[in-house]
């Protein structure tokens, strides 16, 4: 299973990458929305997108809009967001996001959410 992590904070990105690699996933990383768009456009075998909402060049919302609107892809999307941004989260759900995790997050909980979504998507 291949997961694209899009997160501008290096520390969070490293933590996510390490945790998910340990769970047995193939990980691709990106630190801004624009490069994530390029990766998704070129690599069709990505199974899940894990994206931060606030990123340089292209925001998480725009990335979700690109995946659902332009690529017409139904890959599961999980958002990473701060607490207190409920309206943005609602907007992301409207655009087609599947789940969200708030920072600070529990890595085990995140791994379970990813697993659940991937199984659901397979079915």
């Amino acid at each position: 299973m291949k997961i694209l992590i899009c997160e501008d904070d290096t520390m969070t990105l490293k933590a996510l990458e390490h945790k998910l690699k340990k769970e047995g996933y193939d990980i691709i990383t990106s630190q801004d929305g624009k490069s994530a768009c390029d990766i998704i456009s070129t690599q069709k075998d990505i199974d899940l997108l894990l994206t931060d909402l606030h990123m340089p060049k292209l925001s998480g919302l725009e990335l979700i809009n690109f995946v659902r609107g332009e690529l017409k892809s139904n890959m599961p999307i999980i958002m990473l967001t701060r607490v207190g941004l409920e309206e943005t989260v609602l907007h992301a759900f409207e655009l087609g996001a599947d789940d969200y995790v708030t920072k600070p997050f529990n890595p085990d909980e995140l791994a379970l959410r990813i697993k659940r979504l991937l199984i659901k998507n397979k079915q």
Partner: protein, 460 residues
């Protein structure tokens, strides 16, 4: 005079300067004395001619002119001094600009030139030193940045490897201990640990805290918290707050009433993070004004760090008005309708600003039970508060207030209040617009134009 001429003259000055100091004998060589008694005048005359010629050859025209003039006085019939005088006057006339006159009229050229040379050398040396300093500093900063970035990435990887490994990696712990020996490295490591503490929860966060204590970084933070400089203290408070370490709580409490705004805010932040059960006890004793900026910071801490909401109701009875206002704002934001009775008491608060915000919050939280009380205080209220009352009534859209609003529209002298009352009537569901239409079609009243204005869909 063109630049070259100026340069030539400066070089000449330098040359004279060197000659003057190094080879005084060239200029001040004893003149051959004559024992000839025929005429002392003649000797003097010869001396003057000789000096004049020397000055003339060195281009010191002004000095040469003086010498020849003296010679001419001694021997008015001689042709040579007259010839030179005419020649020198002509030269002086040609070079009568500023620099030339300075050069020629200055009787002590050595002092000026020494000063100029000193200034030039000083400026040049200063410039070279400054250039080296800037280059060196830039290079040092750039190297430090590169080193910091490298260490940052290295420590991030080390920390993540440590936190996500199943068992505690003693080798890594030893490496961390070596890292903490250096001040810069320790600083970078602490920053990375704090970054991680913001990102993670659960088991990993707990392990991070244990590592922090194991590396004795808590002692370092405590030392900072008890330091003398306010910015160091603030940094210490932040580190302790993020790592949830309580060893300097007394110092944090002491700084809650600090005169330094930033330190006070950091202490408040640390207090809220460290004592989730009694996060806001500092508000009970705060005597200083709780500024809007502090209020915003506390609000941000509550929201983004998932702090459990305290009982804001009791703060409504605080003697510090800024705290009452803060409590009202929090009641509004978190929609704490339970505080209704306490808010009702605030309608008779001595501070109009508090009453105003209470009215607004009541309207915002749709506390319909407050309407009779608002109606009651309307007459005795300030203009701003009357305005707030009508706006609150408008937001509640309660039919029972229709007559009161009609009364305001009819009897109120202020047009703005009349307009607000008409808008409030218009907002009352079902009946509002009909009532305004009825008022429009009734006998002449001065408010008809206001009603017409409110009903005009192009404007509202």
């Amino acid at each position: 005079m063109n630049k070259n001429a100026v340069h030539q003259r400066l070089i000449l000055f330098c040359f004279i300067f060197v000659i003057y100091f190094c080879f005084p004998s060239t200029i001040f060589a004893e003149l051959p004395s004559s024992n000839h008694e025929a005429s002392i005048r003649e000797t003097t005359y010869e001396k003057k001619i000789l000096w004049g010629e020397r000055f003339y050859s060195l281009n010191l025209n002004s000095l040469a002119l003086k010498e020849f003039e003296k010679a001419h006085k001694i021997n008015p019939g001689a042709y040579f001094p007259q010839f030179r005088i005419v020649q020198l006057k002509s030269r002086l006339h040609q070079s009568s600009n500023y620099i030339g006159s300075v050069e020629l009229d200055f009787n002590k050229p050595g002092v000026l030139i020494s000063a100029l040379i000193f200034v030039i050398l000083f400026s040049f040396v200063s410039m070279v030193l400054a250039l080296f300093f800037v280059l060196f500093n830039r290079d040092r900063t750039s190297k430090l940045e590169k080193k910091t970035q490298f260490l940052k990435e290295e420590y991030q990887t080390m920390l993540i490897n440590y936190l996500f490994s199943k068992e505690i990696n003693q080798e890594l712990v030893q490496s961390f201990k070596m890292v903490t020996a250096s001040t810069l490295n320790r600083k970078i490591l602490i920053n990375q640990m704090i970054d991680l503490s913001i990102t993670l929860t659960g088991e990993e966060k707990h392990r991070l805290k244990l590592l922090y204590i194991d590396l004795k970084l808590d002692k370092d933070s405590c030392k900072k918290a008890r330091g003398r400089k306010w910015h160091v203290k603030a940094k210490g408070f932040r580190e302790l707050a993020f790592m949830n370490i309580h060893i300097a709580d007394d110092e944090i409490i002491r700084c809650l009433s600090s005169r330094n705004d930033i330190l006070r805010m950091e202490a408040q932040f640390a207090m809220i993070r460290l004592n989730p059960d009694n996060s806001f006890t500092f508000l009970d004793v705060l005597e200083k004004k709780f500024t809007l900026w502090e209020q915003l910071n506390v609000y941000e801490t509550i929201t983004f760090h998932q702090i459990e909401l305290p009982d804001f109701e009791h703060l409504l009875y605080s003697k510090n008005n800024s705290i009452v206002l803060f409590a009202l704002r929090m009641i509004k934001v978190f929609k704490l309708n339970k505080a209704f009775n306490s808010m009702l008491d605030l309608l008779s608060h001595h501070d109009p600003e508090v009453r105003n915000l209470t009215i607004q919050v009541m309207g915002n939280l749709n506390m319909v039970e407050s309407l009779p009380y608002m109606k009651k205080i309307y007459k005795s209220e300030t203009y701003e508060n009357c305005f707030a009352i009508i706006q609150s009534i408008a937001s509640m859209r309660d039919e029972s207030m229709l007559n009161f609003l009609k009364l305001v529209l009819d009897k109120e002298d202020d047009v703005q209040l009349q307009i607000e009352a008409a808008i409030a009537i218009n907002k009352i569901v079902d009946k509002g617009t009909d009532t305004l239409n009825q008022l429009l079609n009734s006998d002449y009243k001065n408010y008809k134009i206001i009603v017409k204005h409110v009903l005009d869909k192009r404007i509202n």
